[in-house]
């Protein structure tokens, strides 16, 4: 782009400038690498320590005797704090997958009705999901935990699922409605003229064309469930019903906590979303921008 506009007369100054810009870019890349990777490196540093971890007080920046011992211990559940690791990982998976499925199903149904069918009181219906964000999830945890007693969901994974779905669907509906504006309404009308029912239009026209947005919303819900901590901490009390997120926090409640096991658990816990995330990356983050340029 730049080469076309800089004429022959301005070239020497332009080149100097370009060298400067390149140098600044390289420096910025270095800073960003350091910024992004330091906390990740710190996790490895602690997890790779073979001793039951007082490494963080030794003032070292390189593991003196790196070993995968702590990962082995976690995988074989060889310490009381990680004794239910696999079951807890299963719980985390259950919560994340069910949250994702329910969010996509509820969100796509609601977004179809809101964006493709003309409803009376549409304004309220469209904005009600956003009202959810007027009271953040963490502010509702206390009444929520009381309600779970009423609903009979104490110490149940389903309590976490409904909490996650509650706070993931507003964003899902927002994104899906915006993405739906890209699909010509003429397609719906043509199908309708051919005698298709709303359910058929939903299945044959809307959902297939919305696939990228559904993937984005599903990944969002999955990551939200995997990131969530407060509700799991408050609502799940028994070790067997705990998730890995709560189990990690349990380490802080004991005096003899081996931090290398905690970090190893944390690293293993971090792997599934990273894999899913990078696999689905091209679908992510674009949602909010839909239509943004017309504003």
């Amino acid at each position: 782009m730049g080469t076309l506009t800089s004429g022959p007369i301005r070239r020497p100054r332009g080149r100097l400038r370009r060298v400067f810009v390149e140098a600044a870019s390289v420096a910025l890349v270095a800073v960003l690498l350091l910024w992004s990777l330091t906390p990740v490196y710190n996790m490895l540093l602690i997890a790779l320590d073979p001793d039951e971890g007082d490494i963080e007080f030794e003032g070292i920046i390189w593991p003196p005797d790196p070993s995968l011992h702590s990962f082995h211990t976690v995988f074989t559940q060889g310490y009381w704090l990680v004794a239910d690791f696999w079951r807890q990982l299963g719980n985390s998976f259950f919560i994340a997958v069910v949250t994702m499925v329910l969010t996509v199903v509820i969100g796509s149904l609601a977004s179809f009705a809101l964006s493709r069918m003309r409803m009376r009181h549409g304004w309220w219906l469209v904005n009600a999901p956003l009202l959810t964000y007027a009271v953040p999830a963490s502010f509702l945890v206390i009444p929520f935990s009381r309600l779970m007693v009423t609903y009979g969901l104490t110490n149940s994974l389903w309590a976490i699922v409904v909490a996650n779905v509650t706070f993931a669907t507003p964003y899902a509906i927002l994104i899906l409605r915006q993405y739906a504006t890209l699909i010509p309404i003429e397609l719906d009308e043509a199908a309708r003229v051919d005698g298709a029912s709303p359910v058929q239009i939903l299945r044959r026209v809307y959902l297939p064309l919305m696939a990228p947005a559904l993937a984005a919303v599903g990944t969002f819900a999955l990551l939200l469930a995997w990131n969530e901590y407060l509700y799991q901490y408050v609502l799940l009390s028994s070790t067997r019903n705990m998730t890995v997120a709560v189990a990690i926090a349990q380490f802080f409640n004991t005096d003899e906590a081996p931090w290398n096991y905690m970090m190893a658990t944390a690293i293993i816990y971090a792997m599934p979303p990273i894999v899913i995330f990078y696999a689905l990356r091209r679908f992510m983050a674009a949602g909010l921008t839909r239509g943004a340029l017309k504003g």
């Binding site: 782009m1 870019s25 890349v29 960003l32 690498l33 990777l37 330091t38 906390p39 990740v40 490196y41 710190n42 996790m43 602690i46 003032g59 070292i60 920046i61 969100g107 149904l109 493709r116 069918m117 003309r118 409803m119 904005n127 999901p129 959810t132 964000y133 009271v135 953040p136 963490s138 502010f139 509702l140 206390i142 009444p143 929520f144 609903y151 409904v162 779905v165 890209l182 010509p184 309404i185 709303p198 990228p212 947005a213 901590y229 407060l230 990690i248 926090a249 970090m263 971090a270 979303p273 990356r281 992510m284 983050a285 674009a286 909010l288 921008t289 239509g291 943004a292 017309k294 504003g295």
Partner: protein, 302 residues
């Protein structure tokens, strides 16, 4: 370029959409179907949003609770912390994300290669990330202070000082969420037609003019929507403060979400805890209304 991004940059079909969704009013079975599609969400909304909010308001209905809060210096300090945390965390992060999204538009392979690494914090679950931040900063010889020691600097005790503790929380929060907003702005920028940049180039607009005259007007509303949404999310953020500084020293770096938690579950005063967090409603509701308006502006002009 992803399908979503292509769609973003896509044709003008969408213009016609607002005018004629499903000609005329709905009738008979179609109306029934539309309602049926909305029932699952309506049920979730009523059972898990309306009911808990009403229950929370009922729990915190006693005015004396608010007197008790205001009389407690801990509460006033927490409000200041929350304002600092949100004010700095959101605005600095959004502005940096906007600038960085411009940086990632550059066509250099090593900048493209950096992007997957840069978004790693977002992909990393919050708990491991913030636990790592905690250990990086705790004590005299966490990783950061060890690195500083290499440079001959004696690092501070990060969680023994209120300001440093709040700053640590802000930095950890920015570290985790900046990639998300950077990607959002990046998608917004890729949707700006290339011709506009080229036209600005031909007119001799430099980097700053291009930013001020092209990018800002076009991304302005997106920036506003993102900032408002992020503000709402940050005010309610619990995990960062709970895991990074843990409120140390002595609850002085707490924010409203963690203070409410302490009151409810550690001091066994749930009503006071609910009152503490609900005292943020006078701020939250206007922001939500602004957000609705900002989203609406966009739709009307589609």
């Amino acid at each position: 370029m992803s399908s979503v991004e292509q769609a973003l940059a896509g044709p003008s079909v969408s213009r016609r959409l607002r005018r004629a969704p499903w000609h005329g009013r709905l009738h008979g079975s179609e109306r029934a179907w539309a309602l049926a599609f909305l029932v699952p969400y309506a049920a979730v909304f009523l059972a898990f949003v309306v009911y808990p909010v009403a229950y929370g308001l009922w729990m915190a209905r006693d005015p004396s609770l608010y007197g008790e809060l205001i009389a407690n210096p801990l509460y006033a300090r927490t409000v200041v912390n929350t304002a600092l945390y949100v004010g700095l965390g959101v605005n600095v992060m959004m502005f940096l994300a906007l600038l960085l999204s411009g940086f990632f538009m550059r066509r250099r392979w090593w900048i493209k290669a950096l992007l997957p690494v840069f978004i790693l914090p977002w992909a990393l679950p919050a708990i491991p990330a913030f636990v790592s931040f905690h250990w990086m900063l705790i004590g005299e010889e966490g990783l950061i202070n060890s690195l500083l020691a290499l440079l001959g600097v004696q690092g501070p005790l990060w969680f023994h000082d209120r300001q440093l503790a709040v700053a640590s929380n802000v930095v950890a929060y920015m570290w985790k969420w900046m990639p998300f907003w950077t990607l959002t702005f990046l998608a917004g920028r890729t949707a700006i037609p290339q011709e506009i940049y080229e036209a600005a180039d031909v007119d001799g607009a430099g980097g700053f003019r291009r930013f001020a005259d092209v990018v800002l007007p076009l991304l302005g509303n997106l920036y506003l929507v993102c900032t408002l949404l992020c503000t709402l999310w940050t005010i309610g953020d619990f995990t960062t403060v709970a895991l990074v500084s843990e409120g140390a020293p002595a609850y002085s770096s707490d924010v409203l979400a963690t203070l409410g938690f302490h009151y409810s579950f550690e001091a066994a005063q749930p009503s006071l805890g609910v009152a503490a967090v609900l005292s943020a409603l006078p701020v939250l509701i206007p922001i939500t209304i602004l957000l609705m308006r900002a989203l609406e502006t966009r739709e009307v002009q589609l």
